[in-house]
Structure formats: C-alpha cells, structure tokens
Subunit: 425 residues, 2 copies
Amino acid sequence: MSDEPDRRLSRRGLLGLAGAGAVGLAAGVGGTVAVDRLTGAGAANGAGVRYPFYGRHQSGITTPAQDRLHFAVFDLAENSDADDLKSLLKDWTAAAARMTQGLDVGKHGAVGGSPYAPPEDTGEALGLPPSGLTLTFGFGPSLFTTKDGADRLGLAGRRPPLLQPLPRFSGDALQPQLTGGDLCIQACSDDPQVAVHAIRNLSRIAFGRASLRWSQLGFGRTSSTSTAQSTPRNLFGFKDGTANVKAEEQNAVDTSVWVGAGDGPEWMTGGSYLVARKIRMIIESWDRSQLSEQQNVIGRDKDAGAPLSGGTEFTDPDFTAKDSGGSPLIPKDSHVRLAHPSVNGGVRLLRRGYNFVDGNDELGRLNAGLFFLSFQRSPEQFITVQKSLAGVDALNEYIRHVGSGVFAVPPGAKQGGYIGAGLFG
Amino acid sequence: MSDEPDRRLSRRGLLGLAGAGAVGLAAGVGGTVAVDRLTGAGAANGAGVRYPFYGRHQSGITTPAQDRLHFAVFDLAENSDADDLKSLLKDWTAAAARMTQGLDVGKHGAVGGSPYAPPEDTGEALGLPPSGLTLTFGFGPSLFTTKDGADRLGLAGRRPPLLQPLPRFSGDALQPQLTGGDLCIQACSDDPQVAVHAIRNLSRIAFGRASLRWSQLGFGRTSSTSTAQSTPRNLFGFKDGTANVKAEEQNAVDTSVWVGAGDGPEWMTGGSYLVARKIRMIIESWDRSQLSEQQNVIGRDKDAGAPLSGGTEFTDPDFTAKDSGGSPLIPKDSHVRLAHPSVNGGVRLLRRGYNFVDGNDELGRLNAGLFFLSFQRSPEQFITVQKSLAGVDALNEYIRHVGSGVFAVPPGAKQGGYIGAGLFG
C-alpha cells in the first residue's frame, strides 16, 4: 500500500486529473459542503465530482447523498489485537484516500508492477471517473468487548459509553447474519461499479485480518442531505426524507449530527453515530392497499408529498388540524406524526437510506425494501424515534426490520494520519 | 389496464412529453437503431431517452445496452390455459407500452382514481424520466410442454423446434431455483429505479396468473451493442464484449440475431432467442492470481484490452502468433480463442450481460459475477460457443454457471396488437 502519486498508470488516467484544481481549492476548507458548492447543485450524477477524503469530519455524512450504495460490515479475525486493527485501519485509510480521488489502489494499480504478482487493484473501475465516491468507516460495540464482557482488544477504556448494542424494539425480526459486526464501511457513489470496486478492494486488503459479515447494495437514495437535491421516492412510492437534516442547516448539523467536544470520549469529537437497519417491505400487501390507506399510514399525500393537513411538500404538518367529523387530518398512528421531532423531544436524524431489491423470495415476492442509514450525535436519537414508531406506527403492518447495526463513526483523518487513530492515541 | 393517454396525471408529467417529438419521428421507422441515431451517441445515461415499444423487433436487443438491468422469470399459474396466457400478454403489452414511454401504469396511475381503490401504479417512478427503459419478453420451453411431455396449454403445435432446454455443459452447477421458467422479461434502463418499477408493476399485473420464479438485478453493462459505446469492464477487471455484434453491423445482425423468414415458425420471424446464464465469479481466487495468469486466461492485455498477439483493443487476435520459444502468444485454452468465431464455425452472439453483486455468502466472499445474456438467431449459436468453452476454457477455474434459461423472443408487437400474438394466430 502506497500513497505516492507516481504510479505507472492511474486508475482513471487523465480523466481523474481534470477536476483536481477544484478539489485543491476546497480541500483546505475541510468540509464536504465546501466542495459541493464548488461543484454546484448538480453534484449527484456528476461523474467527475470528487470529495476530499481527509478533513475534520468523514465524508459521506453531510455529503449530498449519492445515488448508489454498497454497505459492508466486517468482523475482525479471531485473536486479533489492537495492533492488527491499527494496521488494518492504516491500510484502509491509504486505499480509501486513493480511491475517493479517482485513483486505483496501490502503487502499481491493476496493470502495473510485476506480471508475476497479482495486480494491486482489481481493475473493474479502470477508466471510470471518481463518481462522487465517499468511504465512511465505523466501529461496532463488539470491537470493545466480547460476549463474555472481556476486553477483547485492550481498548475497553476507549469505548464511547454511548456505543451500546441497540435495544430490542417491538416487532423486530432481526436475522443474526444481518446484524451486528465489528467494523462497517459505507461506500456511496453515483456509479455502482465504483462503489462495488471500493468495497471489493477494501475486503481484499482485509484478507486474513477481517472478513465480510454482511453487506448490502442499494440502488436509489431515499433521502436528500442537501437543499439542492430533490426529494426521492421510496419503494412505497412516497417521497421520503422531506424533513431530513440537510447539510446547509449548520445549526441542526452541529446539534444533531456531530459529536461535540464535551460529549466524550475526546477521540470521537467531530465524529457521529451510524445506525443501519435493513427494513424489508411487504410490497405485495402494500400494493393491494387503498390509496387513502397508504396516505393515512404515511400521513402525507402520495402525489406531492404534502402533509395531510394541507400545503406543499415542505409545509410543516399541523397535527391539530381536524376534518369536519373531528378526526385528525394526520392520523395519530401515521408515520410522519410518530417520527416527527415534535413528539420526540425535538430529536432529528440525518438519514441517508437506499432502496434495495435482492431478487425474490421462494414465494415469488420481491425481496425489497429500505436500507435505512442515519447519522446522529448519539444513538439515543434513533432509539427515541424508533421507540415512538415500534409497535404503534401504522406502517409496521407493511415492514419488517430484519437487519441492524450501530457504529461509532470517528472524525475524519488528518493528512498523514489514519481513520480511528484516536482509538490508539 | 388502459392505453388511453388522458390520465389525470402522467407518471412523469411534462418531463415525459419533452422528447415526444423525436420519438414520433422515429416510431415509423420501426427500429430502435433509428431512434438511437436521433438521440445521438450519448444515448446511455440520457435520462430523457425513450425507445419505441411497438415495431418490427422488440426493443432491448439491438438497443444500445443501458447501464442497469432487472431480469425476471415467471411461471404461469397451474391449470392456466392459452386464453389466460393471451390475456396476460395483452395486459403486459399495454403496461409495457406505457412505461417505456415514461408513463405510469393504468389510466389513473399512482395518485388518481378513487382513494378507496389501490393505486394502479406503485408510484416509485413518479417524476422520473423514461431513462431509456426497454422491456423485452420471451417464452421458455416449459410453456409448450409439461415434464411428462403433455401439451400444457394446447400450444405445442406452435412451438419453435429450436426452443429446447439447453444441454448440460461440462462444469455446470445450475441451481433449480435459478433455472428455467415459462416467461421472461428483461428490463433495461439507465436508472435502476425505473427498471425495478417496471418489473414490480408487471409482477403485480400478473398476480394470480403468473409468479416470479427467479430474478436478477445487474448494475453495470458488460457489453456494448453499439459502436458508439465504449467497452465496459467486467468484475475480472477486463474489457468485455469487444467483438460483440453491434447494432450498426446490419449484416451481422440479420445473420446472427434475428430469426429469418425461412427459419420457422412464421410467428417467430423478426424475433430472436435469448440465453440467460448466471455466472458466479470466484472473485477471491481471481484476485490472488498473477497479472500474467489473468491475461493468459483471457487472452487479452488487461490495460487496453488488446489481444496478446498485439495491437489495440479492436485488432483481430492472431492465433498463429508465437513467442520466441514457439508458444502461442494467445494460449490455446484462453477465453478469447475458445469463444472466437474462427474456432466456432463463424458463430457470433449479441451479448448484453451485466455485472452483479448479491451481497456476500456465509464465508464472507462477495456473491458476485456476470449475468450473461445473449441474443441469437438460434440457440445453437450459444450451444456451439459454450461447448467450446465448457471444460476447456482456462477461465472455468474462476467461474461457476449457477443459473440458466433459454427463451424464444417473439418479434415486436404492432400498434394495437400485443407481444406474442402470433402464438395464438
């Protein structure tokens, strides 16, 4: 693994260099938002868009949600120690810093070096532009303890107190093979081949040190994380994430997303907590329900996405509004009401979920749903909202939570440093 | 199901109408190539691109390969008769004609009609442009017979003699749940949400009449079907499909792709035969092999895609060229040699495959590979090439064929008619 720029051939050759000027300008600003502004509102689908890897925060959180996802969760090899983890994180950092900039992995890439050695890069992204790739790393609770409570890697003293396995929620139908894990990597890009290439090469670098536990591809973002983005639709056909925390809301981002200096531990300052939930949708039941039922379940109109209390997509829902019969226009068990900050102590999340379809099940039903991802200053924010929804939300008839993970996402790495260095400091 | 244009709200509203002029010009020409020329070389990734549904041939064959795939195979309900099949094909045709033009399914779409009825369209593509969607329908051998050889639907007399289950090839590891099936639909689009929306709505229309047997999402095309397209890379990191039949090669298309007037049966004239193979790649073994091994297995250089006999990507391979030691520069068991028309009696295929990643298996290996799709005038073309490869191809060490299907793809439907009408004529 090398970070030298003098490769015989870069992954994407001259194409990759074309945008370097703009990034150079922005890198010092240290935030992905700065880059977004330079590259304009059309950042999504901009094949040439590249985001800085190094900075105060990791990219891939407030970055305008790209269109495609490959999310991967790894378990460290048995008998690993803290040095093994450190060396893996250093190697992953070096590779991620290259790939996010549109370069191939390693000094020699896919086609350089000795013909008698395996290529350092697997090659399927040769010739593709950076495509807005971000790679975001997180640490699961199991990294800090064993099932027996032992201090697995000698890092228990550095464990964030907030990093605990999520409680069981009413209605959870979690599958062990889709739940938990030591380390996660969220790869987002506007080109799925670029996201897949990144996870594949990071998996390969981890060979013998960490192995894939579960993973998920997503094909359509279900949230906007920038006011410049249009609100997409989930597989229920509804606009999703209208009230999401947006990167441009600096106060909300600071209050709700980034771990603050006093939150502790210190090495997490500037980081965040990631919750991942694989939510299977019972598509066939939903598709047979009435339009009015669908709208009442969500609490929004299907066409424009306006709350049932009226207005447009971005009108605040009025939960006190009633119809002529005295019933609330937005039902009490609707998703929008139960998830709303006003009934959850003001709690907000930054969501970055994706639609998925994993073929079909043995009954011929599409194995489809929402891969929910949210970033928050504390997992308690997600827990508050999910407790409000679980068991009560009218939507529960049409969904099953089948996978779950919670991860401490450290701050960004400094140039010359590596992701998670604070763990060992 | 209705084909009337007077919906309360079209799926994609005015956006959808913007390109109507260009399509109107081309529709009479009856071929997708004509439309491609109107919309220019940048057809892929052109969200506004739309292809005609009606015409002499089905779209989605010589159409420039779109970037995303959702392929679905259905089984007819037990005890179906020919009238059931006919009515399903009529409904599918009406829906496909709408969706490929950027409209939602049904007269009332996702948000019109009675609030006390389920929406006619599932809604997740509301607001999305046509995105080059094509829907291509095919008939499996099982439609014409039962396991016991009985004439299941009373259509045995119309069975194309060439439509037989593929023979077992050396090395086949086919899984029954990924093999065979009565009907297939290939949905290709530059937006995966548009392809998924189409298959979902066609599945829904089939409810109670046909159910999903197997299906596959693909995220990156592995072939060019137009000289205007660049050659993409498969997950082995190599350029794929360099020597593919291209739409612009009119002679090759007529000779190798379309069923001719004398080929029989008459209702297949202007159609084609589709072979689908789900090919799992043993990614981890491949990634640990030497660059020279990889290049010898494929018979091409990994960087530019030139044959190992020299030249550039599009140079014809010289199988007689030898190195100084007298060994062939292109090894005898290389993929390019064994698949080449010169060793297969001149046989060529039009390939339209896609990369896939279906998460990971229980051993932490990426469940990834190539979803091979080829269109040919006769399945014998595929069988010839696959017999040449099976058991001999050096690539076999790194791949497993796990799914398979063969389908008769009827010609395009006439305006006012429906796909497969000739079956019942």
